[in-house]
């Protein structure tokens, strides 16, 4: 178990600043998720923690100890990679036992057998122990990869999109299992993903990363409810947050804070009136509506709005509807995309 600190860490690859002056503290025992699009520097941050990359500037601390120049083998962290996760020439058993046979650790074989069996039971892969790693399905491979990380009981788990190559059903299953495991072991876990659902469900705290910098850090609720920038607002929520102009508020637009350039509102907070005769609020034209996902997409000129609508009958494409945006649920951002505190 360990707390982690990045102090002004910068890492460039040629002209690209993958990580740009990163300052970040991760608490002991935390399930910490770094969320961001590809190229945001998430994976580089993780590799810096593992010692697979060395920062150009800045320092990294684990439990207050400077580990910036330490070899990966000396850091006692476990890494679950997105792919290429297993050693293909070894059996599942040998894959899981591999870290226990490392020169610095070298446990007796009887102890290794016990530990491997424990981990296999935990991840439900007992029946696969003697298979070659190459014969497993994707989900089994990732389980084994997680098993290889668990078996050592390291100071720190690092996971780089461990579920992204799996299909949706399996992803959800393993996600729940991961969360349960981390709760039980209480080990600090840093998890990188571009999937906001994973981030929102797994994390104790989330750091939203964009172009090598951190946009916002906070609990999932905090980030979801009070995004600090438009970029963060766009990243979380499915369907994504509506980003509109103050004009759509109609008569309410006089109440928006000065300097407001963008009004953002979650689809679940948008009110829709289907009464065709006297539509309340702004008139939009429906584009599509699904009774299954309950998502309504409507437009007014260039503006496109998404709303969650529970209805017995679908709203027909082309139908005119009234939409209101309750002021209490609106969030305001200035021209450069920063939140205006109301």
């Amino acid at each position: 178990m360990a707390s982690l600190t990045f102090a002004a860490v910068t890492k460039s690859f040629g002209p690209v600043r993958a990580v740009d002056g990163l300052d970040l503290s991760i608490r002991d025992g935390e399930f910490f998720v770094i969320l961001g699009p590809s190229g945001a520097g998430k994976t580089t941050s993780l590799r810096l923690l593992a010692g697979l990359e060395t920062p150009d500037h800045g320092k990294i601390f684990m439990d207050g100890r400077d580990v910036t120049g330490l070899h990966p083998a000396a850091r006692d962290v476990a890494f679950v990679f997105q792919q290429y996760s297993l050693y293909p020439h070894l059996s599942v058993r040998d894959n899981i036992a591999f870290p226990l046979r490392a020169p610095g650790r070298r446990l007796p074989e009887t102890e290794i057998a016990v530990k491997v069996a424990e981990v296999a039971a935990l991840l439900h892969i007992e029946s696969k122990l003697d298979s070659k790693a190459t014969t497993l399905s994707g989900g089994e491979m990732q389980r084994v990869a997680i098993g290889r990380a668990l078996v050592r009981q390291p100071q720190l788990f690092l996971m780089d999109e461990p579920l992204s190559s799996l299909d949706a059903k399996l992803r959800e299953e393993l996600r729940v299992e991961l969360k349960r495991l981390q709760r039980r072991l209480g080990t600090t876990l840093v998890y990188v993903t571009h999937d906001q659902v994973e981030a929102l469900t797994l994390a104790d705290r989330i750091a939203v990363m964009e172009a090598g910098r951190i946009g916002q850090i906070g609990t999932p609720e905090h980030i979801y409810d009070r995004p600090e920038t438009l970029a963060v607002a766009r990243r979380l929520g499915s369907p994504p947050m509506n980003i509109l102009t103050p004009a759509v508020l109609g008569p309410d637009s006089s109440h928006v804070p000065a300097a407001t350039a963008h009004v953002a509102i979650r689809p679940e907070d948008v009110r829709v009136s289907v009464d065709a005769l006297t539509p309340a609020g702004q008139v939009f034209r429906a584009i599509e509506h699904s009774l299954v996902t309950r998502i309504l997409v409507a437009e007014q000129g260039d503006l496109e709005v998404r709303a969650l609508v529970r209805a017995d009958q679908p709203i027909l494409p082309g139908q005119d509807i009234g939409i209101t945006f309750p002021l209490a649920h609106c969030q305001f951002f200035d021209r450069s995309g920063n939140r205006i505190s109301a």
């Binding site: 593992a50 010692g51 697979l52 070899h71 990966p72 083998a73 850091r75 962290v77 476990a78 890494f79 990679f81 792919q83 290429y84 996760s85 297993l86 050693y87 293909p88 020439h89 591999f98 870290p99 490392a102 020169p103 610095g104 650790r105 790693a133 190459t134 014969t135 497993l136 994707g138 491979m141 290889r148 050592r152 190559s165």
Partner: protein
């Protein structure tokens, strides 16, 4: 359109890119014919090695003749022709091969140097292959994984050593070797073959190394291994196919090399290729013995390739990857 509609044919129609059955058959026959034609000289050598020296040079040539081991016996022995009186005075033959020699009107004088030359070939061939592979694997790994200043120039330089036929530097090498005392030594010939093979082995192996994802070593390093240990435990097994392929190429070159062996070795470290053509019988070359030497000479590369075929056939698949 015709009506009523005809039923769909039940036999699957081959796709446009799939070879038709008759194309396959013709291709198969061509391959077999080519294989047979290629095997004729080989078969001739093996057949000749089991003939008597007389049958081996008979005209018109005999395709099938009484099998005989005289060629092999002559290959491994030296003999002297004796008068019938001397033959009668000699003690009785001790073994089957002595009898075979006496049937030719000769007495065995001692073993020939073929066995020594063969062992020399094994030492130099496998030794230089081993060195070329060890050095090549490490060089290829370094060039594949690390930032090496001037990497591309270095790679081109390594390749460029192959652009000139090695024999073009025969005289300088000979003079150099004479100066430093490497003439007619195992070390001299082994080093020379290693150097010639190294460019091939570095280039081939670098290709294989590039195919091995770095994540494997990185995972091993995070798991508590040093880079060198990760190289031994993870990279080498992954590169087995490449190492097998490359070592076969290296062995074939070192095993068959004739010109330098002829030039640089004589009494001590001479290998089989320059020795075999010097097997002299009475009144001309002993073709049966020479064919026997050639047949035995072919075996090691064959055996080596067969032993490594598992790795060759496995191909370059890294199965535990999900993309």
């Amino acid at each position: 359109m015709s009506w009523p509609l005809k039923p769909m044919p039940l036999t699957p129609v081959p796709g446009p890119l799939e070879p038709r059955p008759w194309t396959r058959r013709i291709a198969g026959m061509l391959v077999i014919a080519y294989a047979l034609i290629s095997l004729i000289p080989l078969a001739w050598i093996v057949l000749t090695s089991f003939r008597t020296p007389e049958d081996a040079i008979s005209y018109p040539p005999k395709v099938l003749a009484e099998p005989s081991l005289v060629g092999y016996v002559n290959l491994f022995t030296t003999r002297t022709r004796v008068t019938p009186e001397q033959m009668a005075a000699a003690p009785p033959a001790q073994s089957w091969y002595e009898s075979l020699i006496r049937d030719q009107g000769m007495l065995m004088a001692g073993p020939s140097r073929f066995f020594d030359r063969y062992v020399n070939s094994l030492i130099v061939g496998f030794g230089s292959t081993f060195l070329a592979i060890v050095l090549g694997t490490m060089t290829a790994y370094a060039l594949s994984r690390f930032k090496v200043p001037g990497k591309n120039d270095l790679l081109f330089f390594i390749l460029s050593t192959r652009m000139m036929p090695p024999i073009a530097i025969a005289i300088p090498v000979f003079l150099m070797y004479r100066e430093v005392g490497l003439n007619d030594t195992y070390l001299g010939l082994t080093l020379l073959y290693t150097v010639v093979n190294l460019s091939l082995s570095v280039w081939l192996l670098k290709g294989f190394m590039d195919e091995i994802p770095r994540e494997y070593e990185e995972a091993a390093m995070v798991d508590g291994y040093s880079r060198f240990q990760a190289f031994i435990k993870i990279v080498l097994p992954q590169a087995a196919t490449g190492i097998a392929t490359t070592s076969i190429f290296c062995l074939i070159f070192a095993w068959n090399e004739y010109a330098f062996a002829l030039l640089l070795t004589s009494g001590n470290a001479q290998t089989a290729p320059p020795f075999i053509p010097t097997i002299i019988g009475e009144g001309g070359l002993d073709w049966a013995a020479m064919a026997a030497g050639t047949t035995l000479f072919l075996l090691p590369v064959l055996v080596f390739t067969v032993l490594l075929r598992k790795h060759l056939l496995r191909g370059i698949t890294f199965g535990a990857i999900r993309k």
